[in-house]
Subunit: 225 residues, 2 copies
DNA sequence: ACCTGAACACCGTTCAAGT
DNA sequence: ACCTGAACACCGTTCAAGT
């Protein structure tokens, strides 16, 4: 006996596909299970369709990942940009918020590191950081080139830390480096042997804060050729 | 009629599998066709065996990629480290050599960005950079934290530039950003609209040279907390 | 125009069985 | 110990055919 057909009332009508709906479903999968699980096939399954159908709204999987990233960047706190006072503190606060967002999703941070975002939320972040550099009197040319470096540094740090915190597999890489540093032969690697654990010292936030301060100082102080 | 069996003299004996042999074959594939083509299946095919056999020598594909990277880092020119004179120039030269090596293999640069290398050639590079920072009188604590940033910056730049030069697909991301910057509404993104193409100005090497100079200056000038 | 099923051309990794 | 064939559990993307 074939199963009784499901009436329209019992199962809600399948929602129409839209780009926003697809991206929202992708973000939901990522929050729940990580970016690795956001595949076109899995996404299609969740949306009750086939993978081919998604190609009407998304060019490829890279574009989908970019859309997810921009969606998340919408949660970065940009309010320090318009707060009066210490521009360096505001810069650090915005970048810390950016880092926090990415650390919560290490796989996304890794993908952000190898892509060039250009979505509306990314532009807003860029604009905010440029406003702070301008407020600090950093020459425009230096700010234009420097803002990229600040974001890059924050992204890389988030990728690294988030991965270390969450992914057991990549924690092994960290361990391998620690072992290599600890076992560095003083004859062959004198500097590493001399510095030892100092190389890997410090907590993530402390290193990031120092790195951003150092980079900001360098950007402000180094004229373009 | 079955084909005549190939005598041992006509087909050279299949070379025994070794870790070095596997890595060498992997490097050969990467040089010829890029990192994307270095899969365990393809590698096994080239080595006239099955993918499962490789797992005796390599834990997984990530470890294989790390081995390829370290192999390539063996070609970085470290001679400036021991040359007398200008430490800043020597630092820039070593990092430029590192960048050149990675730019030639953008896919590898992207993978280096999300991994923590710990191979012998990587350690040698690290040691050389630390020697130069020490020669420049940079306090040890700052050098220990700063060397990571310098490498990170060079790696990210290589990944970006190499990709732009070689990969048509990721060139599209660059174009999308350029279009977004050019079309930025002055009301919504005042800083971006004001700076305009200045944000994306400059050649890769010029930007890298400035970035490394700025970061080096910041590292040297910013005391650790 | 939008959507689909099915196929194409692949992946990494595991495992029982062989030598 | 080393090596293998075969399987498991997936991928992104394309394309002819439908509505």
């Amino acid at each position: 006996m074939p199963p009784a057909p499901v009436s329209r009332r019992e199962r809600p009508a399948k929602p129409a596909l839209t780009r926003d709906g697809i991206v929202a479903a992708a973000v939901a999968i990522m929050r729940a299970e990580g970016l690795d699980k956001v595949t076109l096939r899995r996404l299609a399954q969740d949306l009750d369709t086939g993978p081919a159908s998604l190609y009407v709204y998304v060019r490829n999987v890279a574009e989908l990942r970019a859309a997810i990233l921009d969606e998340l960047l919408g949660t970065v706190d940009l309010t320090p940009v318009t707060a009066p006072g210490d521009w360096r503190g505001a810069l650090a606060a915005v970048l810390a918020s950016y880092t926090d967002v990415l650390i919560a999703h290490p796989s996304l941070a890794r993908s952000a590191l190898v892509s060039r975002p250009s979505g509306p939320h990314y532009l807003a972040l860029l604009d905010g950081l440029l406003a702070l550099l301008a407020a600090g009197g950093v020459p425009a040319g230096q700010a234009a080139w420097g803002v990229d470096l600040l974001l890059q540094l924050a992204t890389a740090t988030a990728a690294e830390q988030g991965t270390r915190n969450a992914d057991a597999d990549a924690g092994a890489e960290e361990d391998a480096l620690a072992a290599a540093v600890a076992g560095a032969a003083p004859g062959r690697y004198p500097q590493i042997a001399a510095l030892g654990p100092e190389l890997l010292s410090g907590t993530g936030p402390d290193r990031l804060a120092w790195a951003l301060a150092a980079l900001t100082a360098g950007i402000a102080a180094t004229p373009r050729p």
